[in-house]
């Protein structure tokens, strides 16, 4: 790697925007890996559309983080010149695509949260975050519908699609708890009315996913132990591989544009 990492002054608000930007970029990148490989053309387009929505959200959030930081970083530097420990996305979102069911269940768990999250964030006292929320909410609402309809058909489809969907739920379940956790810095933003408390969304999130999962004739796991770490920069082994691909061009040819 030819280019050094940038340093980011992580004030609570910068870190808050970065974490959400990383969520959107990493999931968007994962979905883009399906481009040209999805099980059918229709789904190839659908997954790419969702990827583009998410990368659009990431760009706005990175730009805002850079502006709040005010140290000359920009969206590209934040995306391409931070290493794996500087990334703060949810562990759920960096998990490999696996089979189609695993991709769909990852999307389903996250979109069911993101839909509620962005809707709640529309009342943020931070005007920029509120504006990003208003745009993102419509996108997330569609992502949730898309993933839900698919999950119902996979679960209630063939024996094999049912098995794969249930395996994906069982595998990814332990990564869902991190969506609702908050650290001290975020607690301050919540008190200031800039952020919302994600714990307050958990009841409705669980209701949403329970309804869809039961319609899909699938079951949610009962285990409550949850994996944490992404928000603090402690990632699974998968993120480094993802970033090496995502960043390879800028690391090799700094400042390259086309």
């Amino acid at each position: 790697m030819a280019v050094a990492n940038i340093q980011v002054s992580e004030t609570p608000l910068v870190l808050y925007a970065l974490r959400r930007a990383d969520d959107a970029l990493i999931l968007g990148h994962r979905l883009s890996e399906w481009c040209g490989h999805a099980p059918m053309l229709e789904e190839d387009m659908a997954l790419s559309n969702i990827a583009l929505d998410l990368i659009g959200q990431a760009r706005e959030l990175y730009s805002y983080a850079a502006k709040v930081e005010g140290k000359g970083n920009d969206e590209d530097k934040l995306a391409y010149l931070r290493d794996v420990r500087q990334y703060r996305n949810l562990l759920l979102l960096e998990q490999p695509n696996g089979d189609f069911a695993q991709t769909l269940v990852r999307q389903f768990f996250y979109s069911a949260f993101a839909d509620l999250y962005w809707r709640a964030m529309m009342t943020s006292r931070d005007a920029t975050l509120a504006a990003i929320a208003a745009k993102s909410e419509k996108e997330s609402a569609y992502h949730l519908r898309h993933a839900s309809e698919w999950l119902i058909r996979l679960g209630d489809g063939t024996e094999e699609s049912h098995r794969r969907a249930q395996d994906a739920i069982d595998h990814l379940w332990a990564f869902t708890g991190e969506m609702f956790s908050v650290d001290d810095g975020e607690r301050g933003l919540i008190h200031a009315g800039i952020a919302i408390d994600p714990a307050s969304l958990r009841g409705r999130w669980l209701q949403t996913i329970s309804d869809v999962v039961s319609e899909a004739t699938l079951v949610l796991p009962q285990n409550e132990w949850m994996q944490q770490g992404g928000r603090a920069g402690r990632h699974s082994e998968h993120l480094g591989h993802l970033l090496s691909e995502l960043q390879s061009m800028q690391r090799t040819f700094p400042g390259l544009t086309w």
Binding site: L41, E42, M45, N49, H146, E149
Partner: protein, 95 residues
């Protein structure tokens, strides 16, 4: 390609209020709900539409190309049917 689980659907998009839905293409989907979603994802990515119809391709009855002469040639000699002999007021809008 045999696709028993994902039959063919025809997609119609209305681009603006007051215009008719127009056929834009087809797609494969398991049912009407999924067809509508796929139509949104494939055919309205550049803001093309305000409304989508999807119709099972099997529901369409087509004219027989072998009957082209009988079906369409008689209309070719009736130029007086073209509305070129009077002016349409601008206020009428789309016709």
């Amino acid at each position: 390609m045999a696709t028993p689980n994902t039959p063919l659907w025809e997609v119609f998009i209305r681009s603006r209020n007051g215009l008719a839905h127009k056929h834009v293409g087809s797609l494969h989907a398991s049912d009407a709900t999924m067809a509508l979603q796929a139509a949104r994802d494939i055919y309205t990515r550049r803001g093309e539409g305000l409304s989508i119809w999807v119709v099972p391709s099997t529901a369409i009855t087509a004219s027989d190309p072998a009957e082209k002469g009988m079906m369409f040639e008689p209309a070719e000699s009736k130029i007086y049917r073209h509305p070129t002999f009077y002016e349409v007021p601008e206020e009428v809008g789309h016709m």
